[in-house]
């Protein structure tokens, strides 16, 4: 590898620019991190910026002492893993046929799917449906109604249809049917995009809680983000505290809010560094050659 000086300069510029952007991205997280270890007086006084003041672990002790938080975290991890696997399977099942050149009815089905991206009937019809299917208060209500994301389906379909057409033809000549071709050739070659889709699905499921607000009553089935949302948003609900007046509750301390944010965010953030291993370039090139 020979690098001339202008290329070195280019590298340096790129690294600096990326570094600055990263700084902007990471500072707020550090701020929340600092808040979570700080005393409430210091937070209210606006003294905490990037380093904890009045360092303490009380907030984290509170969280670890709250069995419902731990239970909720474990449930959420299980839910996210289950959802991601099922969602990925269903998306692959749809994306593969829709990416074939010669599949009668493809355009009708694809149009039907696209239309669903635009029409949102609102929460009441969705709730009625989940109720009729007897899924209320059931973890399935957090999986089935969002099983396939049309956006991700389109991405995957695009990726599948970019595969060299020669691959399919030669597979067919080898007596390889669609199922085997999909499993043996298409999927192994699509690991980067599958990893991305898994990430998007997992993060989506992790961050979404609106469905749980409506479908779930049993606190054992509360996703962690829903608990977090209630905690953080309730202290922002202005009108409510005015109306409740003398029966208003003391707001949840900001350090506890911050610690809960860390607690509910760090596990999902760790998914990406782990998935990065699948982002190996040039896999396809080798396959075509061989």
């Amino acid at each position: 590898m020979i690098q001339n000086s202008s290329e070195k300069l280019g590298n340096a510029v790129i690294m600096i620019l990326i570094g600055i952007f990263c700084l902007f991205c990471v500072l707020p997280m550090i701020h929340i991190f600092a808040l979570s270890f700080s005393g409430n007086r210091a937070i209210m006084s606006g003294e905490v910026f990037l380093w904890p003041i009045e360092w303490n672990l009380n907030s984290y002790k509170d969280i670890w002492g709250d069995s419902s938080m731990i239970r909720s975290l474990l449930f959420t991890i299980g839910l996210v893993v289950g959802y991601t696997v099922l969602s990925l399977c269903a998306t692959i099942l749809a994306a593969y046929p829709l990416s074939r050149r010669n599949f009668k009815g493809k355009n009708v089905m694809f149009a039907m799917i696209i239309v669903t991206m635009f029409f949102n009937p609102g929460i009441i019809p969705n709730y009625l449906l989940v109720k009729e299917l007897h899924l209320l208060n059931d973890a399935w209500s957090l999986v089935l109604p969002i099983l396939v994301n049309a956006f991700l389906l389109i991405i995957l379909k695009t990726s599948f249809s970019q595969m060299p057409e020669e691959l399919e033809d030669s597979a067919w000549l080898d007596g390889c049917g669609h199922f085997r071709y999909l499993l043996r050739i298409v999927l192994p070659l699509s690991l980067p995009i599958l990893a991305t889709l898994a990430l998007y699905s997992a993060v989506d499921r992790w961050n979404t809680f609106q469905d749980a607000l409506f479908y779930i009553n049993d606190s054992n089935l509360y996703p962690i983000q829903m608990k977090l949302y209630e905690m953080v948003v309730n202290s922002f609900v202005n009108d409510a505290s005015a109306q409740e007046g003398f029966s208003a509750t003391t707001p949840v301390p900001q350090s506890l809010q911050a610690a809960s944010i860390m607690f509910a965010t760090v596990p999902i953030i760790l998914v990406y560094p782990w998935l990065q291993r699948y982002f190996i370039s040039g896999m396809l090139a080798g396959a075509v050659k061989g």
Binding site: N11, M15, L17, C25, M29, L129, I155, T196
Partner: protein, 315 residues
């Protein structure tokens, strides 16, 4: 269509004929579609009857079907309100400016692709997607702490070095810039991941060939990398055009303030105020229906144009 080139391949010849040969070869595709299509029909099409609320004098206790028809009354009411047009205008304006930032994740991905220091690349990827995990409620609070004119951290720092305060949140033009900037900050790193995945699909031999020709870095990016991720770019661009009439609720809701409400009131916040908070479901549904139709038209238009120009689209 491209397929003509391959018509001489025996496999396709059989398949294209249709009839028994077609079915013998392609039946697994139909089996595969059963589960996904069942999902879309049950969970997307059945509840869609809910959009009828827009044409009803909706009574939640009677349900959608028993509520009396109201024809286009709800639409007439919406279209007679000047506030609605203001919200529509602001929505289109903010989304259009958002569209201008569409290339940023691509540029980030291309830049990352050039970095040869592996640990730096891995760490910065992870850091860049962090903002996606900070909810807008919290971003809104931090925006005021940092950017407010008289007490914001940034303006206090500017004052300290003798620069007059910048009213980031007060002047409509600056507020819009702040809004768009916050959007980029929140989602550029997240959107970049899709392009990174697409980059891995580019054939390495193409780079080797370009190296042989002595191509510079810029030329390689332009002639190899960009064409390699072009399909992904086109698909995402068309989908974003289709979303021009839609706007998330949280970002404008938390970033707005009382100086700029003439520019920050968008369809989602407007519907929240007049529809949801006042328990007028028909209004919320009718506006949603309007957005759906506009979005669908925009999407199809973008698709047709893209097919003409690039011979490629989402279909």
């Amino acid at each position: 269509m491209k397929t003509e080139v391959h018509l001489n391949s025996p496999a396709l010849a059989v398949a294209m004929k249709g009839g028994a040969g077609y079915w013998r070869r392609q039946w697994p595709l139909y089996i595969m579609m059963i589960i996904p299509m069942a999902f879309f029909i049950v969970f997307r099409y059945i509840p869609m009857a809910g959009v009828l609320v827009a044409f009803k004098d909706y009574n939640i206790f009677k349900g959608i079907w028993a509520s009396p028809w109201a024809g286009f009354d709800v639409f007439k009411e919406i279209f007679s309100l000047p506030e609605f047009y203001k919200a529509l205008r602001n929505t289109l304006m903010l989304n259009f400016l958002g569209l201008l930032t569409f290339p940023i994740p691509i540029v980030l991905a291309l830049m990352l692709n050039e970095i040869r220091v592996h640990w730096y690349k891995r760490v910065s990827q992870t850091l860049m997607y962090l903002p996606h995990f900070i909810s807008w409620v919290i971003v809104g609070g931090m925006a005021i702490e940092l950017l407010s004119t008289n007490y914001g951290t940034i303006n206090q720092m500017l004052n300290a070095i003798g620069v007059p305060a910048i009213p980031f949140l007060e002047k409509p033009a600056l507020w819009v810039a702040t809004y768009v900037g916050a959007g980029v900050w929140h989602s550029a790193g997240w959107g970049m991941i899709l392009y990174l995945a697409a980059l891995t699909g580019i054939n390495k031999e193409l780079y080797e060939a370009a190296d042989m020709d002595g191509a510079t870095r810029m030329r390689k990016t332009w002639h190899v990398t960009l064409p390699g991720i072009k399909p992904t770019i086109i698909v995402l661009f068309i989908l974003q055009i289709g979303n021009m009439a839609n706007i998330g609720f949280e970002q404008p809701y938390v970033l707005t303030n009382n100086y700029v409400s003439d520019y920050s009131q968008v369809i989602s916040t407007y519907v929240y105020t007049v529809g949801i908070q006042s328990a007028r479901f028909a209004i919320a549904t009718a506006v949603g229906l309007f957005q759906s139709v506009v979005g669908l038209i925009l999407l199809l238009t973008a698709e047709l144009i893209s097919r003409k120009i690039n011979n490629q689209g989402i279909f």
